[in-house]
Amino acid sequence: MGVWAIALHGGAGMIAKEKMTADWKKRTEAALNEILDVGIAALRNSLPAVEAVELVVRALEDNTLFNAGKGSVLTNKGTVEMEASIMDGRSKNCGAVSGISTVVHPVSLARLVMDNSPHVYLAFDGAEEFARQQGVETVDTNTFITEENREKLENAKKTNSVELDFSEHAPDDLNSGDNEDTRTNGNGAAHAGYNPGQREIANEKTNDHPDRFAIKKKCALHQVFKAEFETVGCTAVDVWGNCAAATSTGGLVNKMSGRIGDTPIVGAGTYANHLCAVSGTGRGEEFIKHTVAKEVAAIMEYKELPLGKAVYKVIHEKLPENMGGLVAVSTSGEVAMAFNTPSMFRASAQEGGERMIGIW
């Protein structure tokens, strides 16, 4: 029997140390410790990795400190559209859901899609219908909406309208976060320590591509989303060496209704196979483009690098700066957590090893 290991996150973001009140910090650390204990207990009791990650993510969904389940951020319509996914590395079975508005535990619904349906991914009305048919716990959608998130939405909308006034930009300025003129935080202000010399890689590959894709972007319209990318997720490897990952989120503040991020996209925000399990958090669009979660596994497999090196490459060499982070475990019990934003709520533990929680 091998060693178990677990790594979980409550989201990567832009929280500077000075900005976090002592009380908020204390509550967050307490939550991370408590939830880490849930995962450790499961693994110590020889539960399979896929069970452990589901239990942990359920606990994270319950906690309004994080952007998932209760406490999910709101769409531009002021509604909640949650998404989640789970993947069992042993079988590569997976389940995902999007557009959930009444299900208390989206990650558990994702698991039911995996176990109890012929499909891998259900969304919106169809997913809600399946939830009722499966008898999972549902509540009135307003239960998920917190006052804090209403305020976040209002602030985001205000910023939005300011940005929109400035834009004379080409339509396709909007898609990418990785260009050198707009390395800003979510609210449009330049991030301290930003180095304009980086990130030439994207431009090298344009092959004289038509101008509209090589235009230096002038407007931070695409950066109007609140920078706290607080998705939640968990990766675990059990005593049999099987890895699993699960991720859950409310998405981006003020996102267009119907917008799907990386969380339910297998290979982007969540992935697990015989080598490792990965759960990401950050600007979903970047995770999708760069198939971040799968990338870690691919680098491990094809370049034969250990987990830590693969994770480092993906977060610090492939993913544009300030776009997110991830947690990962490998079948041999390694743990790796990395982020290129100022902060990422996280916690990890290994059998016979150290436990840690962290924010910066």
């Binding site: 239990l55 109890n116 919106f124 219908e129 339509p171 209704s257 119907g258 996209i265 760069h290």
Partner: protein
């Protein structure tokens, strides 16, 4: 090193006893779409425009499962999805759950170019389509008699299968809500022994590399016959059914669930990049070894002008051509 283009109308268990009328309709459509793409490339259009153009043509033709002619959900409705990805920039756009948009691939492109997002679905996607003034029609426009018949057959088989299999409506929910620490291990045969879904997984797709080496992939589908309402397949999942980067572009077709698990499109590119092998070697590894047999196929192009098509099903409707080469149109191995 010139341009290259490959397109498909779906991989699956295509019977060699295909009725002649259908075979001719399919071959005519493939040839027509190939001509369209080749002509655009010869006029130096960019890969992104060519790929979209070809997929629009495939969507318009009811002989394939995309746009008009999409297969139906278990409720008899249409839920279309599509995805487009531009290799050099890795910008991408995806849509799901469309029921009135005539060209899902064009909506995917608009999501890519006109929103801060990559993927929009269901009502939100439909609302965006209207806001953008894209052509829409009544849902009934997309529903063909042939697909209504397919659905009826699939549902008949389902009912029969339900009588004999472990899949029943009393499935044990995997969690005990009062005692989250004590889960019941649920392992059951959800899929009946013979898949009642029609085996022809007719997604459509097109990959293009233009004379500048820019690769683009575009894919569009109605999904699986008799799928659950709200079911999303591999097509709009970037890295599964559709993917492009500076090395290659890939569009896959087959059993969506299997393609998602195997992250097919991304795997081809990753093998090329990290193992430093040519496109055909990467494709062979994925279709021959990583994707379970009978589950699908793909078309792919590389930035250096290679064109590869592969499938591990009985057949795949396909067509391809390289600059200075001859056109290839095929169905079986």
């Amino acid at each position: 090193m010139g341009w290259g283009i490959a397109l498909h109308g779906g991989a699956g268990d295509i019977s060699k006893d295909l009725p002649r009328a259908r075979k001719e309709a399919v071959e005519a459509c493939l040839a027509q779409c190939l001509r369209l793409g080749v002509s655009a490339l010869e006029s130096s259009h960019a890969a992104l425009d060519v790929a979209e153009l070809v997929v629009k043509e495939l969507e318009a033709n009811p002989v394939f499962n995309a746009g008009r002619g999409s297969v139906l959900t278990t409720d008899g409705t249409v839920e279309m999805e599509a995805c487009i990805m531009d290799g050099p920039t890795m910008n991408c756009g995806a849509v799901s759950g469309l029921s009135t948009v005539v060209h899902p691939i064009s909506l995917a492109r608009l999501v890519m170019e006109r929103t801060p997002h990559i993927y929009l679905a269901f009502e939100g996607a439909e609302a965006f389509a209207r806001q953008q003034g894209l052509e829409t029609k009544e849902p009934s426009y997309f529903i063909t008699k042939e697909n209504q018949e397919r659905l009826a057959r699939a549902q008949e088989k389902s009912l029969v299968q339900l009588d004999h299999t472990v899949y029943s409506t009393t499935i044990i929910v995997a969690h005990n809500q009062d005692n989250p620490g004590q889960k019941k291990n649920v392992k059951q045969d959800i899929l009946p022994p013979t898949d009642p879904q029609k085996p022809e997984f007719e997604t459509v797709g097109c990959v293009v590399v233009d004379s500048k080496g820019n690769c683009v992939a575009a894919t569009s589908t109605g999904g699986l016959v008799n799928k659950m309402v709200g079911r999303i397949g591999d097509t709009p999942v970037v890295g599964a059914g559709n993917y492009a980067n500076h090395l290659c572009a890939v569009s896959a077709t087959g059993r969506g669930e299997a393609i998602i698990r195997a992250t097919v499109a991304r795997e081809v590119a990753a093998i090329m990049e990290y193992k430093k092998v040519p496109l055909d070697v990467a494709v062979e590894e994925v279709i021959g070894q990583r994707l379970p047999a009978g589950k699908g196929g793909l078309v792919a192009v590389s930035a250096t002008g290679d064109v590869v098509m592969a499938f591990n099903t009985t057949g795949m409707y396909r067509a391809s051509m390289k600059q200075g080469g001859t056109q290839e149109i095929g169905i079986w191995h």
